[in-house]
């Protein structure tokens, strides 16, 4: 699944064991694709000595802090960016921003 800047995406709520680079605090959260960072070998495979191919698209995704934390202390415009691999993202068709 490929995405473009501006697409709304949700981070999969997967509980995949082993080495992953998608932090727990992002799982199940909705954000917006900011940019495409390129293609890289999959770190989840590289961690175990596998080739990590085919390469995966890496996206810079922005999240509203008030969407990530119930008790966020700060204005609603504050954001967080994380670099998330394509296989951790799914499209989000929700109405809320």
């Amino acid at each position: 699944m490929t995405f473009e800047p501006g697409n709304r995406v949700r981070v999969r709520a997967s509980e995949k064991p082993g080495h992953v680079r998608t932090p727990e605090y992002l799982r199940g959260k909705t954000g917006r694709v900011e940019s495409v960072l390129g293609e890289f070998p999959n770190p989840e495979d590289l961690a175990y000595g596998l080739s990590g191919r085919p390469e995966r698209l890496l996206y810079k995704v922005s999240f509203r802090q008030t969407d990530l934390w119930n008790d966020y202390e700060g204005p609603g415009d504050d954001r967080l960016y994380a670099d998330v691999y394509e296989h951790w993202l799914e499209p989000d068709e929700g109405e809320t921003t």
Binding site: H19, P23, E24
Partner: protein, 100 residues
């Protein structure tokens, strides 16, 4: 269930802003880890995976974790054994005055 290393959003206390003098053994730990990476003997991703698998992750200091992870990978790859590292460490400890 977040891994032991997956700290984003966990509760935490005030940030200790003091800086300790980097010790020679820490420079060595840093250099050996990266040198092994540059030679293709282990990779950053393998190193991270090894770090994350440490039972005592929360108890060890930063470079202590690096040494433990590097050892784990060297043993996993059959390059060294823990026993010989134990033996040599004991010799080092005996010979050395233990400063830095």
């Amino acid at each position: 269930m977040a891994g032991v290393h997956d700290l984003g959003g966990s509760s935490g206390g005030p940030i200790d802003r003091s800086q300790h003098e980097t010790e020679d053994w820490e420079r060595l730990a840093d250099a050996i880890t990266i040198a092994l990476d540059k030679k293709g003997i282990k990779t950053t991703d393998q190193h991270r995976r090894a770090l994350e698998s440490l039972d005592n992750y929360r108890e060890l200091a930063y470079y202590e974790r690096w040494v433990a992870a590097t050892e784990k990978l060297l043993v996993e790859k059959g390059i060294l054994t823990s026993k010989e590292i134990d033996q040599r460490s004991a010799e080092v400890a005996r010979r050395w005055s233990g400063t830095r």
